[in-house]
Symmetry: C2
Subunit: 414 residues, 2 copies
């Protein structure tokens, strides 16, 4: 079961004015499963995206980037699960474009106003007959009040659907932010088999939304790791329909900017952390804080070295306060970050929750195994590393490594 | 069981003139287990070493580096298992120096002619009473013909001891190379919970041995990965006693250089691969060849991306020819290598054994699942990636990721 992830049945997921959702059971993944989603945004919406940096990125990612660059007005997103349309060469591009064309026809909009997304098995061609047949039922279901089935319809190996909503006031007007995400394995930033879609009825100019989408991704989806593998398909999209009644926000100085930024960030962070909580085989949710680093790259590199280490992750699974593995991971982070080459480990302080466990290059005198054990029993574990050499910090969210991780990934295609 | 690793009982491990070994049961690891080894080299020997690049490197690593820099004549190595003396701060340095001092006393040699090595649990202080009490029995056993018990005496989580011997002729004179290694987890280069000791009676000048020790490490121990974790204690030492009858080798142009270089390399590669074959929970031995890369860093980065990926490794465990995960790993290698940012994946060819499985950004037309399945059933799997953009190549040796990896590392301290 996911680690402390509230069921979406208990969440209220209010509609976002100007954003309609429609799902279908297209038999791509398996029979009688929602496996297709269309999200339609009203004219006048701003839409921005951030995508995987994997060189083997999937055909739909190529087309998303092209359409976002070309089109002045994105009109709809189309998402299928069960097949990633990645590593599919020329045919993959044709298939993704065909999907866009047919949906564009049905919605009577330009083809480059459609953004396609796929997630699932790599290297298999999309089952185009099934996929195209799913478009009409999904279009026929388009409605503003469908965030819960939408969350279900984009899942792959996820155990639980992931959704979040946040409401705020801008200039006295109510503004809604609602979002969904999916992903459980191949999770490592830039980004993961990870899809995130966040919508708001706030009015945000396109250029400002482009800026903050990148920034919010770096503070949310780009701070998580399940297994260090970066997927070919990761995409994170923010849609702003502009149908709330406040004055449009076009710069960081405008009234309401901080409010909507925080609401979007809170939503993205919740959705990103939800992916880790539902990480394949996860039994613990691990937060790694790295403080007082020389620079942000250094802070993130140390955080990821700990978050990715199979030895740290198996120790967490065993509730074993194996400090040595954490220190070893800090020590080898210099492999991937030049500024860490002169890291003086004698200055480092390591905390498990609020307990100082290591300092001056060794175990803290005040530390007791009993204190470490107590913290390790928890399902939420916070590790804090103070490098004591600068002012930058980073937080990485991760999970442990269990038998079930191996089982899930050994059985995935069978 | 280790993957295709011959038992050392069936290996002949000839003595190396000028190199004596003595073991002890010091009760550091557990009762009635060989857990200490002394290797003594004759006057006139050259001794070179390469060590972990982990910033949290252990106290003995610090002292090895210091003594190798200071001393004109290394006289003995002292190795204990069961405790790594890493993350032990100032006390760790004192303990390692005390060990050197007491052994120096017993052998009547300068203290800086001793090299200390420790492997085992991190962050615990060495049990000095037991360790020091073990020195005398180990010294009393010193003999040239003890490579087999020596291999046993340095093991930690290893299932099997690891040793290799090679004989060659230089100027008509027989020259012996014999070596041992240990390590099974926290294995990733630069280097791993990995110790390697190779001795030869060849006569090689100190400066030349320094050069080739680094080069041989880069072609052997620095080409393996079990879990991507780099240990705090890794050390690789070559000792050349100079007691064979050939003319001393002082440059790469000297007669016999190529012969002894190849014999040392063959021994180091065998010992490095033996560590992977005995990788924690390993059921498959995986060779990753990366060819036609722009530069060696790029070739190694792609190789390690595949070799380290938990998704690739769990697929290998399941004998699942999951090409997509291999392609995804190639694609995200650019995270750690700038020259890969412009990698054109359409030019890549991917082979499992001699079967072309992917090209032109997708699955090869000629590929069949049956062909892939057949290769995956083997215990030795060879993956070849042709990047088709340069002339550099690299080979990485790795293993799969099984339930037993999780079990071994979850239970390690309990």
């Amino acid at each position: 079961m996911p680690v402390n992830l509230p069921s979406i049945k208990n969440q209220i997921l209010p509609p976002v004015k100007g954003v309609r959702l429609g799902w279908a059971e297209a038999y791509i993944k398996k029979p009688n499963h929602k496996d297709m989603l269309i999200i339609e945004v009203a004219d006048g919406s701003s839409v921005s995206g951030v995508f995987t940096q994997n060189r083997f990125c999937a055909a739909p990612v190529h087309i998303c980037k092209k359409h976002l660059a070309e089109s002045k007005q994105i009109k709809a997103l189309v998402i299928n699960t069960g097949n990633a349309n990645a590593g599919t060469g020329e045919q993959g591009m044709v298939d993704a474009m065909t999907t866009c064309e047919q949906l564009a026809n049905q919605l009577q909009v330009p083809v480059n106003s459609i953004l396609p997304f796929s997630t699932g098995v790599i290297l298999e061609h999309l089952p185009m007959d099934k996929l195209l047949a799913g478009l009409a039922p999904a279009v026929s279901r388009l409605t503003e009040d469908a965030w819960e089935p939408a969350a279900w319809s984009i899942m792959t190996t996820d155990i639980a659907p992931k959704a979040y909503a946040s409401n705020c006031l801008i200039g006295g007007h109510s503004v809604q932010v609602t979002g969904i995400s999916k992903g459980a394995g191949m999770i490592h930033p830039n980004m993961a088999t990870m899809l995130g879609f966040v919508a708001t009825d706030a009015a945000i100019s396109q250029s400002l939304l482009d800026e903050i989408t990148k920034q919010i991704a770096d503070l949310s989806f780009n701070c998580i790791s399940v297994d260090g593998d970066t997927s070919t398909n990761d995409s994170f999209i923010i849609m702003a329909s502009g149908q709330a009644d406040h004055a449009p926000i076009t710069s960081r100085e405008d009234p309401g900017f901080e409010v909507i930024f925080q609401a979007l960030l809170e939503t993205a962070q919740y959705l990103a952390k939800a992916i880790v909580r539902d990480g394949e085989g996860a039994t613990k949710f691990i937060t790694v804080n790295v403080e007082s680093a020389l620079n942000n790259h250094e802070a993130k590199t140390v955080g990821y070295a700990i978050a990715k280490s199979p030895l740290v992750k198996t120790a967490m699974f065993a509730s074993d306060p194996n400090l040595g593995r954490v220190l070893a991971a800090i020590g080898y982070a210099s492999r991937e970050c030049e500024s860490l080459q002169d890291l003086n480990v004698d200055n480092i302080e390591l905390y498990f929750a609020d307990v100082l466990v290591a300092e001056k290059g060794g175990r803290a005198k005040s530390y007791t195994e009993a204190a470490g054990q107590k913290i390790m029993q928890e399902s939420e574990i916070e590790i804090t590393v103070k490098l004591n050499r600068g002012n930058e910090l980073a937080t990485i969210w991760s999970c442990d490594f269990s038998y079930d991780y191996v089982r899930i990934n050994a059985e995935y295609r069978t």
